[in-house]
């Protein structure tokens, strides 16, 4: 979870958006974290580099919980 939070906060920081203090499974990537489509694209790249999983490959991912399921699978 910490690595994921770091990845997310790096993207938010570069985009000039507020960073996240805590992650939880129910957080929505767009509505709660504030990602747009380009930032989600960057998220997939960075998660794949860290965890070896393309989280959007098999379908749409909308929450932190869905990301964690794919990383842990």
């Amino acid at each position: 979870m910490d690595k994921l939070k770091t990845i997310i906060n790096n993207i938010l920081e570069e985009a000039g958006k507020s960073q996240i203090d805590e992650l939880n499974a129910s957080q929505h990537l767009q509505n709660d974290i504030g990602f747009d489509s380009l930032e989600l694209a960057e998220l997939t790249v960075n998660i794949e580099a860290e965890f070896g999983v393309d989280i959007f490959l098999d379908g749409i991912v909308t929450t932190i919980g869905e990301i964690l399921n794919k990383i842990d699978a």
Partner: protein, 410 residues
């Protein structure tokens, strides 16, 4: 019907009826040779005034920087103003637009170099527009920039049927969902990338009757998610280009060439070719024996009727979420950064936006460059989709035997 809404933007509390719109169009007394505005209502008023007065007009995306606009205005279009007098009413609006001799210019990035102007006649713009009583209660979610060919199509489809247009472009996904329900939107047209943003979550939109996707290669894995989110919608994918307008539609992944344009479409060595008779007007089209090479690689599924699926782009343009990025343009700007000796920009496939932009940078000896500073520099010089996401700092950039950079799409 005069009191029917023409345009609604809930993000700024704007609601304009057709009566308001007619009044405001009639109030336009001067036109520039181009329109650039993020005030879509004002944009539409000027555009319709141009059409009714048979005045050619160029459309410039609101995201262009002043520097880029100066380049377009000085090199491609002239900045001049003309006085006009408009006298339209609700009932004459339709015919005046359909019969207009106006040419609407849209910029396309072309294959390399600076943006090129492509001028569409009303015939070309209206080719795919359907006017009928079955469309009179359509409510359109407007999810493209009106300077994009697809945006013009949606605008004209809605206007000529006296439908309501609800602004969705530029809103976040929460706001889009709220607007779809609050405004009873029945029709939405946008890119696969936008629909990927919309299909998450449990809520559905049963009132939406038609979804149209376009602007990027369609993603077949997206279809079940769209049908779940919009359970009563018919879903179509449209092939349209800035150069030729709307040409083909499909409800799957295979496009069928309509009979009426069969003789003007051909496929040679897997590349889609369009006959010049279908093209808009431009100084920049390079034709070979009357045929325009689209650079789209396709696979023939059936010969008769000619049916094909889209495979990929042939040339160097990179499609990021429906927006075309010219890697040379991005390289030119990165190359101006202190400490950059050489740079190459290329695309990499991405499950969210189709492609993302990457760059390899060679720095001047002992110069330390970092991604954050480069991105900050690029922020006010390039639209956000053109700014690279991946930065590799390398020792050298490989070149072909003729000295060209090897730009491999990954």
């Amino acid at each position: 019907m005069l009191n029917n809404f023409f345009y609604i933007d809930n993000s700024i509390g704007l609601k304009k009826t057709y009566q308001d719109f007619i009044f405001d169009v009639n109030s336009v007394t001067q036109l520039n040779s181009f329109i650039k505005s993020d005030d879509y209502y004002a944009f539409f008023c000027q555009l319709v005034a141009a059409m009714i007065s048979d005045s050619d007009i160029a459309l410039i995306n609101e995201a262009y920087t002043s520097q880029e606009v100066d380049g377009l205005v000085s090199n491609i279009i002239f900045s001049n103003r003309k006085n006009i007098t408009i006298n339209v009413d609700f009932f004459s609006l339709h015919d005046l637009i359909v019969e207009s001799k106006c040419k609407v210019g849209i910029f396309t990035s072309g294959t390399t170099g600076t943006p090129k102007l492509v001028k569409h006649s009303m015939n070309s713009l209206l080719r795919a527009v359907k006017k009928s009583t079955s469309h009179e209660n359509d409510i359109w979610g407007f999810a493209y920039s009106p300077t994009h060919f697809a945006g013009l199509q949606v605008f004209l489809q809605a206007l000529l049927n006296y439908n309501t247009i609800i602004r969705l472009f530029g809103l976040n996904t929460s706001e889009i969902h709220v607007n779809i329900e609050k405004c009873n939107i029945t029709h939405i047209s946008s890119t696969p990338t936008l629909f990927k943003m919309l299909v998450g979550g449990q809520e559905t939109h049963p009132k939406v009757k038609r979804i149209t996707t376009g602007g990027e290669k369609s993603d077949i894995t997206l279809m079940p998610a769209i049908l779940k989110k919009f359970p009563n919608a018919k879903v179509l994918n449209i092939y349209a280009s800035t150069e030729a307008g709307s040409l083909f539609i499909t409800n799957g992944s295979a496009f069928i060439v309509p009979t009426k344009i069969m003789s003007e479409i051909t496929i040679i060595e897997n590349e889609l070719l369009i006959h010049e008779s279908l093209l808009a007007e431009s100084d920049s089209f390079i034709l070979q024996n009357g045929w325009y090479h689209t650079g789209d690689l396709v696979e023939i599924v059936k010969e008769n009727p000619l049916t094909f699926t889209f495979i990929s782009r042939k040339n160097e343009m990179i499609n990021v979420g429906g927006y075309k990025v010219n890697p040379h343009e991005v390289e030119k700007i990165i190359a101006t950064i202190d400490g950059v000796r050489d740079v190459i920009v290329y695309g990499k496939e991405n499950s969210v936006t189709g492609n993302i932009i990457c760059c390899d940078i060679v720095s001047v000896n002992n110069f330390i460059l970092n991604k954050k500073d480069i991105k900050f520099f690029l922020k006010d010089k390039l639209q956000n989709y053109k700014i690279p996401i991946i930065y590799n700092f390398v020792e050298n950039i490989s070149k072909t035997k003729t000295g060209k950079k090897e730009r491999l799409v990954q």
